[in-house]
Symmetry: D2
Subunit: 353 residues, 4 copies
């Protein structure tokens, strides 16, 4: 857990699934010293009690502290917020003003202020900080991340959508018109919350759409593509589905291909864009992405196909939602912000099978 000159990091929301994954990665990070774990309901318990799978790590004996401990910002150089939506928008400004750098894993700093009432159900309390936030998708916005004080860590679904679509749009391979995104996710995206819908008995052998057409990742996809350019970004219709898996997000994007575009030309555009990226694997034509292959790793797999019969461009992408879709990408951003090798403490091999 880092030597004495390691960077001091706090994790707020350490008792949740994403928080636990973040601690798992940071506890094995040679340049990081975990100085505080914040929680709400689990204050006073040890990490080992809240996350027994972390009992044998160096952080296993740490005690969870109250979230609003103002003094946390004094102890930590970087604060990672893995809190429910709405909590970090309230909490982060004080941390930032005290000089801490913040990586927010919720949706609180990802959209323009005016989008929050409709998509998140609250008026954004810190629009000035919101304007300074950098969208932390390193492969598209690496230089901005390096210098950022506040990083909005992307959502799980928007990550592969933006990585898959941005290069094709930039290369002029797609017609304008709505982007249709069909998402499939395992249950870990829903966190540890136990509801009748997240039980094993309700989930095994069940495939079902949910929260359509109001999923808050819809405007985030539009925003990410707008940031990546060129303007105007497409409107997005997004239908997420729950499938009987734990980790893993697979997205299938449907757009109109320009005349002459082929599976080969799309695949080649993606491959050349990401040739030097350690965490992006572009498949050769004919290969199919598989969420299981990237499980436990920080890798995104991408695949492009043109259905020439109908003029449809299809891009599929797969990630581990807790890694490249949340905690892994946060560590990647941390590595950039702190000047570490970008791949430090981030596996490129999936834990397969």
């Amino acid at each position: 857990m880092g030597g004495t000159d390691a960077i001091r990091v706090a994790v707020l929301g350490a008792s949740g699934s994403t928080g636990g994954e973040l601690v798992r990665l940071l506890a094995a990070h040679p340049g990081v010293r975990l100085v505080a774990l914040g929680a709400r309901d689990s204050v006073g318990r040890t990490l080992a009690e809240v996350h027994p799978h972390l009992a044998s790590t160096a952080a296993g004996g740490m005690t969870l502290e109250p979230l609003d401990d103002a003094e946390v910002a004094g102890r930590a150089e970087v604060v990672c917020c893995a809190l429910p939506h709405g909590a970090s928008a309230a909490l982060a400004p004080a941390l930032l003003e005290a000089g801490a750098r913040v990586i927010d894993l919720a949706g609180d700093f990802r959209l323009p202020a005016e989008a929050y009432p409709a998509w998140y159900g609250f008026e954004h309390p810190a629009p000035a900080w919101l304007r300074k936030a950098v969208y932390g998708l390193p492969e598209l916005f690496r230089e901005e991340v390096r210098g950022a004080q506040l990083v909005a860590n992307p959502g799980c679904y928007p990550t592969p959508v933006a990585l898959g679509m941005a290069p094709l749009r930039a290369a002029g391979l797609l017609k304008s018109g709505p982007l249709l995104v069909d998402g499939k996710t395992g249950l870990s995206g829903a966190g540890k919350a136990a509801t009748e819908a997240t039980t094993f008995v309700a989930t095994e052998d069940s495939v079902r759409p949910y929260r359509f057409p109001r999923h808050q990742h819809t405007p985030e996809m539009e925003r990410a593509l707008e940031l990546a350019g060129p303007a105007p970004a497409p409107v997005v219709s997004f239908v997420p589905h729950l499938v009987p898996a734990v980790r893993g997000v697979l997205i299938t994007c449907y757009a109109r291909a320009v005349e002459g575009a082929t599976t080969d030309s799309l695949s080649e555009t993606l491959a050349s864009t990401y040739r030097d990226e350690p965490f992006v694997r572009v498949l050769a034509p004919g290969e199919m992405v598989d969420s299981k292959r990237v499980r436990g790793s920080n890798v995104v797999e991408l695949q492009a196909v043109v259905d020439e019969r109908t003029g449809t461009a299809v891009v599929a992408g797969a990630i581990d939602n807790l890694m490249k879709g949340a905690a892994g990408q946060a560590v990647q951003n941390l590595n950039l912000m702190a000047g570490f090798e970008e791949t430090t403490a981030l596996p490129v091999a999936g834990v397969y099978p």
Copy 2:
């Protein structure tokens, strides 16, 4: 298994998954007498040996016979062919000419003859019979099924696509343009074949597209919508995905809604179309289909949503692929052909959880 005046039925391909499901249903059918079970590799074995879960049924002791036993047609009034693609096209004509009625569960009688080389890889050997085949989707083509000598039992994916889209097209609620179909299926559609891709270790926690853009259900969807009308049917882009489930197909269809179309108007159109159908359940706006709820039943669940931000009409449908997507629908067709109550031996309740 039926009295002496029961209808005499043979199942060819009884050793496969679909064949087993068909025997399971027919063994409990009060109007059916199973007179022959045909197989290729398992000839001479008993049903109980090939399908131990059927050991305690009345058919458990039946011995599997060679497929090409010409005399089968003499014994059976109805022959159900649950054979690999291509086999029944070769086998059925002799049975039909001997006077038997045939329900084919493969794809051999579902498309126009000219489509077979491209989509199934063979020249159709019996185009005259092909022209006489009735597409066995009872909710759309009930009267034709009653009198048919040869019924092409629909594929799993096209069943909910056709049932969901046909009424909306007929009501003029959709613009012309390509229909995008995103399919999710459990592994039972792949049959009992053991390959590295169908093992448990490769499938748990894995979501992956497959066989895109060449899945043979693509032209079948176009054909079914053409038969249901109005012309012209849309071209279809179809991306199927494997998810870690056994039974269950869920399809999500994306089309352009006409101005003014709403979730309510689409839902109401489906609900009124299928009000008296025992096997179609149209969900109220806001409810979400779930493949698990129909598992083990012959029911299809349908749901329609309009995303007004983008003008997209989304129709989702869920079936048990071995039931309404194969064997159950075959029994429904048999019931119509033989004059039984259409719901005989077909559960409307899913085996849940």
Copy 3:
């Protein structure tokens, strides 16, 4: 759902998993008319709302009524109680005194009165009725069930343990000494309750013992073997485990074999005992029980092996815990009590795969 001369049945606790399964079976029972569905939290909702998979059954529109409606007993000839432990002990006496016959699916009438404080945590409120209760394992106590007013439907684990061990004990093939029972169960035994431990994310890929050594099925196994004889029954050590499955209980029983006992002699004893039983399938030596094969059916699979190196007799048994382990066995008891064919409305074929 039965004609006008059908037997009138009420299900109390219809909103739970076991209650839902019972309604699923009874709604398709030709000799039963469901006259009342009782519930606690879901009063006023329809069956279709509480169990959407039953929406298309004849009972889908029935409304759930308060549990303590004294008038239920006036309407129903047989009342099935699928309530939490402790509830039917309080509720049943009034029903019984009003003349109804009762099948209790909880543990409230399975043990001697003196066992309740230690194993269930309550003093039994109706010891007189408890003494009259018949233990409803038809293969062992068929005649008593026929005439019973109060049937204690057995627990899921004790059912295959008793069926597997009783004939071997009766035949003198086992030495005295403790009986060790290692149980494996899917999650449906835990009902619909959503806790962190029953979520999909906590269950996939998880195998774990639970509630050892205090599981309340331990004394029930001892009691069932005592009732079946010969005395004295062995003491039982029982370790149940949760495995990532929904339906299915598999038990593995370890005892000491007498000298000369072999796999063949044990298997033959079981086979001859159950030769005419429709719901018991004894496997030949070398075959292995599989909980999946009996899923959705009322069948129990049994297998016996002697490990001659160590003198250990091993009996494995598999059931669907919601069927032969709960609702299916209750219907089997109902069939006996009402004079129906014992197999009415009870599948012998598993819904496989």
Copy 4:
């Protein structure tokens, strides 16, 4: 993948599940340089082709070479054999005589020579080397491993059995008599082989015993307990079961406790024995082991309970069969043999959920 002074390691059998796991760990090991990957059927393919989840590792581009390349021993200081049973017994002697150190992950060097015909079906070809082999269970035989030229890496089931039982036997807490071991395993222990029994459709919701009473880990358990002492070791009856999981082995051991032994005394004995072991986690009384918590880690969880009603001592243990049960333990042995920190490249945190 190690600097120029790193230890040179070859993996034979790199195309299998265990081989892939070994390469995954070794590719991230700072003191190891992978110099050769051997295979049989996949010769000439790259690691990325055979194990796509390893495509982005430093070893992704390595080409698989023929197994019997005598020159491998010249290149590698340590050769890890992850081959089918029987193959390394034939292959290893030449490697050893050429001076290489060998870690064998198969069962070829775990038993006395006379046990091979009965349990593995072959006459051991190298009994002299067999006598020199060290049983590579570091927590019990650490010093022998450090100096060994040939290490027999333990089987998955025997690892938690030996770790759980040895201290209790040494402390005199158990009576003599047979040890009963009930094992539950995920499918990854069966490797990548695709058979009808290992498909997803046959496995989901299936619990089933297998290969009883002839599983080859039975005599290995007896041998490991004999090596750990005190003599005489108990005879073992072992019933392994397949459960619907990928990774994970859970064993439940049943023995007779001496008078006065309690859950507390057994737990305390285990806890004090393993207090300083990084990879052994002994649970407090009342806590339950869970195979999921150790998934992806090299940790074993142990739990002990005395059922005082019956005098039974129960020990449960959980590991990731590919890690502590195979590749992880092999790396632990390698670390000892090469003088690295024992925990190098071996996670103590599970990849949870």
